[in-house]
Amino acid sequence: MKILVCISHVPDTTSKINFTDNNTKFDSNGVQFIIGPYDDYALARAIEIKEASGATVTVINVGLAETEPTIRKALAIGADDAIRVNAEPTDSFFVAAQIAEQAKSGYDLILMGRESIDYNSGVVHGMVGEMLGMPSISPVMKLEIEGNTAKLAREIEGGKEFLEVNLPFVAGCQEPIAEWKIPNMRGIMSARTKPLTVVEPIAFDSGVKLQKFELPPPKGSVKMISPDNVGELVTLLKNEAKVL
């Protein structure tokens, strides 16, 4: 079985977000980059499937050379090889087109995160599925494969639903599909020599153009209320905040 895992290279979840160049560029100064947390779940599940029943796991990232340490981390976690599409991931539709192009060569399973934590679109899986004529399912919290069929659980508002689908398909993953994996020393050593192929992007215009970024207005200061006067909180919520 061949599994493709799509990983985004995103700022660590604790990062402060700032912009430069007149609010048109992300300020990566002092920011640590990680594999997207949802993508990390997808990768962990792929490795589990590989360990349980044998599979090759390829990771793909659409990004410039700066993403290679993140890709190497995925190799250290246990992926066999990697593809980097050498382009700035400006928009989800653009990214999806690049992934679909590379995935044409034939994978039984394409796993990604339910959403990236930078652009939060939550759409690349659906787009890739559509482009390849495959079913797409997201957000997936459980994935079991038996022969040519998969059983999945998908989170819905207020609960979950259980699905069955034949391979190949695309899934956008989230917890608790698997536990995040931390690379060990051997993994880190072997990652250095695993193949990482760099390919050039195909021409694709998603018709989405960034104009500028904005930060939300700063939060006002907190009003503290005495624990002995809980009634005052109710009054404030009613008359001042007007939310009751």
Partner: protein, 317 residues
């Protein structure tokens, strides 16, 4: 400008976020057609006229009673063609978001999700969307003639602008491939306020000490007609179901009021609540980081304060 709005429902009722989508499309100045799929209460659909829909289509085929992503995308694409709609508006949700993705790829539309405001069309078509999990916004221009807009909760304020209208049946020609995924069963809380839709959320963290103590939070939530949420460790430890987990890797909420009890306020939790209008934090540690993100705070023991708060709210009603 013809706009199609995808209407989602739960237990036969149109979701509030879908009503927001109709209001939003109307505010864009378009000619609004709403479409609902599967079993939905007719009166609920007729009422969409009040929020600005000029036409309401209902694809009542029982095969659409389940939200199959591929089948829904096919129906929406056909309806866009039939209605000559260039723009699809929907609420971001576990169904709407992936369906919108497939529609956009099928028709080559420029897509933006988590849109927070009515587009600026004074020159081009510029939408404002929430990015970095609520920590920032991006203004993006959508250049293709066809567009798909996924809305974040509160992108438009619900108000009535017209009268109820009659519902037009919409017939579909679905193919087997649309049903390649089969939903075998589902588990869903019924009669509860759904977390992503709730106006008020009462959320508990590890400070609640164990699942057996959730009764006081549920009581408070019931009094406020609120949904209950929790922090990630709480759902990881199975104290609460996973769909209640709020934050960076869970549900992103945008209620009028978010009450956080025994939650420290890690940045990943805050990422899921930073779109709330008003935040109340109850924590026994005066240095809990959550207070910095709060509008109102009480330092104290949740087990003493929560019952008092519930009583005070009941008394104020």
């Amino acid at each position: 400008m013809n706009i199609l709005v995808f209407i989602e429902s739960a237990e036969g009722k149109v979701k509030k976020t879908s009503i927001e989508a109709v209001v939003y499309a109307h505010a864009m100045g378009g000619n609004v057609t709403a479409i609902a799929l599967g079993e939905v209460d007719q009166a609920e659909l007729e009422a969409l006229g009040k929020y600005g829909a000029k036409k309401v289509l209902h694809a009542a085929d029982s095969k659409l009673n389940q939200g199959i992503i591929q089948a829904y995308a096919s129906v929406l694409v056909n309806a866009m063609n039939d209605e000559q709609a260039d723009i699809l508006v929907l609420a971001n949700s576990s169904l709407g978001t992936p369906v919108g993705a497939r529609v956009a790829a099928k028709i080559g539309a420029s897509l933006a999700s988590n849109v927070v405001e009515i587009p600026d069309t004074s020159s081009g078509f510029i939408v404002k969307r929430s990015i970095y999990t609520g920590k920032a916004f991006a203004l993006v221009e959508l250049k293709n003639a066809k567009k798909v807009l996924g809305l974040k909760k509160n992108a438009a304020e619900i108000k009535e602008v017209g009268a109820a209208i009659s519902v037009t049946p919409y017939s579909t020609s679905l193919v087997d491939a649309d049903f390649a995924t089969k939903i075998t069963s589902s588990e869903q809380a019924t009669g509860e306020v759904l977390l992503p839709e709730a106006n008020i959320v009462v959320s508990g963290g590890r400070g609640m000490k164990g699942p057996e103590h959730w009764g006081i939070l549920e009581e408070l939530a019931k009094t406020l007609h609120a949904a209950t949420g929790c922090s990630k460790p709480v759902s990881d430890m199975n104290w609460r179901p996973h769909h209640e987990h709020v934050g960076q890797t869970g549900v992103k909420v945008a209620p009028q009021l978010y009450i956080a009890v025994g939650i420290s306020g890690a940045i990943q939790h805050l990422a899921g609540v930073n779109s709330s209008k008003c935040i109340v934090v109850i924590n026994k540690d005066p240095d809990a980081p959550f207070f910095k993100a709060a509008d109102y705070g009480i330092v104290g023991d949740a087990f003493e304060i929560i019952p008092k708060l519930t009583e005070a709210i009941k008394a104020a009603k």
